[in-house]
């Protein structure tokens, strides 16, 4: 069990879900792959399918249209997995809180399908790549306690 968790921490594969973001956080997520930050040092890579993923990097406000899709993607992800809510919008819907087209916030939308989901909040508009790496490291620490 300890070996399994060690392997999981050393090889987090990230799937990026855009739940209605303005593209600013998405650019910052892609920044992680560049030579300056290079998250492949820690074994993290971006993958093309939620089936392969261990981390869901969710950006955006989670609109009414996006919410059922986000929940579906979460259920399609192979467990155990971690959700990173990236940016002010994904944390608490940001400046769009009262708007007519909002679904639930990202954390509540995911807790609605899985009450035990691990959610890590990365505040900022957009958050710095450093803080995303920090969040991923904290996620690894959290997985250690499972």
């Amino acid at each position: 069990m300890a070996l399994k968790m060690w392997a999981l921490r050393k090889s987090l594969w990230v799937y990026h879900v855009n739940a209605g973001a303005c593209n600013n956080c998405d650019i910052e997520v892609l920044e992680l792959l560049t030579p300056r930050y290079d998250i492949e040092r820690f074994g993290m890579i971006l993958v093309g399918s939620p089936r392969h993923a261990d981390v869901l990097a969710v950006t955006g406000v989670c609109t009414r249209q996006a919410m059922p899709r986000l929940q579906e993607v979460y259920m399609q992800t192979a467990k155990p997995c971690v959700v990173l809510a990236i940016g002010a919008c994904a944390n608490a819907q940001g400046i769009f809180t009262e708007a007519y087209h909002m679904g639930l916030p990202v954390d509540e939308a995911i807790k609605a399908v899985d009450p035990n989901a691990i959610i890590i909040y990365v505040p900022g508009c957009p958050p710095k790549p450093e803080s995303m790496i920090d969040a991923a490291v904290k996620g690894m620490e959290l997985l250690k306690t499972l």
């Binding site: 392997a7 492949e40 040092r41 074994g43 093309g48 192979a78 467990k79």
Partner: protein
């Protein structure tokens, strides 16, 4: 019987370890080309270990049996190929007649099982990936077999891997003739397509059709496909060395070193081609293999036959 099982286990596990190390080398060199640091040396092993510990999801639209069976057969096919090739290179005199043909068939097995698994998953992205994989297989298989036939013709129509190695040990590598050089160039490009490396990775185009054929695979099934791919990465250079480059020459103490050098050159070529080329479309790939490489392979075969008829070993 016991020795057969022992050969299989040793060759399959050895090739798996070698293949995973080579995949790490590939990723590390790619990272260095892109001015990054890249993953640590144990990364590919950890990836496989992690996938083994994850959930194995079967989508509701999938045809479960085929979906779960395909990766196992792919891995088994790679394992048996490993056993035949390493046995042929270690003890050339004990090869059986037609093992080259068996190896060609077994090397198709991973691609075939990828198609089967993708089609069984019931995902439209996977269906596009499977159709591309099939077209890719149709395009590279013809020049590949023609190129291998050059070596077979030059070594006295020997369909035994051991016979090919022994003929080369007596009369020099196939590579050292004009037809042999043409054939190995064709074979290297076909190897790139067989491994699904970058100019020809259209079956699993990541940003286009979301990993294509592997889109619905998770956990242990995905790990088995990854292991099968890693083993192919270790086996294809081995096949090319056996057929074109004289196999394991152990006439002197530096024989093992030259073998390692040849192996390194072929693996480095795969990484080099992968890092310097953009992905081709499927129609471009088909044109490249059928109208570009097949005539070259036919020319090499004709040159080899003329060389045999006229007694000119350099042709």
């Amino acid at each position: 019987m016991g020795s057969i099982v022992l050969t299989f286990i040793l060759a399959a596990t050895g090739t798996l370890v070698l293949g995973l190390v080579l995949r790490w080398v590939d990723r590390k060199v790619t990272a260095m080309v892109q001015w990054r640091v890249g993953p640590p040396w144990y990364q590919t092993f950890v990836d496989v270990l992690k996938l083994m510990g994850k959930e194995n999801l079967v989508p509701v639209t999938a045809q479960g049996t085929g979906f779960l069976l395909a990766p196992m057969i792919a891995l088994a096919g790679s394992g048996v190929t490993a056993a035949i090739l390493w046995h042929a290179i270690a003890i050339p005199s004990q090869a059986f007649v037609g093992d080259l043909i068996v190896v060609i068939y077994l090397l198709i097995l991973p691609a075939l099982m990828t198609m089967l698994g993708a089609a069984a998953s019931g995902n439209p992205h996977a269906a596009i990936g499977a159709s591309r994989e099939m077209k890719l297989l149709l395009s590279y298989e013809l020049p590949m077999v023609l190129a291998l036939l050059v070596a077979v013709a030059q070594t006295g129509w020997s369909f035994k891997l051991g016979g090919i190695i022994e003929a080369q040990a007596a009369g020099g590598s196939v590579l050292l003739s004009i037809s042999g050089a043409l054939a190995i160039i064709v074979a290297i490009l076909c190897m790139q397509a067989k491994l699904g490396q970058v100019p020809f990775d259209l079956a699993e185009a990541e940003c286009e059709i979301m990993s294509g054929v592997y889109v619905e695979y998770s956990g242990p099934s995905l790990a088995m496909f990854l292991m099968s791919r890693a083993m192919l990465l270790a086996l294809m250079p081995l096949l090319l060395i056996i057929v074109f480059w004289g196999g394991l020459y152990t006439g002197a103490w530096w024989g093992y070193l030259t073998f390692a050098g040849k192996y390194f050159v072929l693996v480095a070529l795969v990484t080099l081609i992968r890092n310097t080329n953009p992905r081709l479309r499927i129609d471009q790939t088909l044109k490249f293999f059928w109208f570009g490489l097949t005539p070259v392979a036919v020319l090499a075969l004709v040159l080899a036959l003329v060389g045999i008829a006229k007694g000119l070993p350099w042709l």
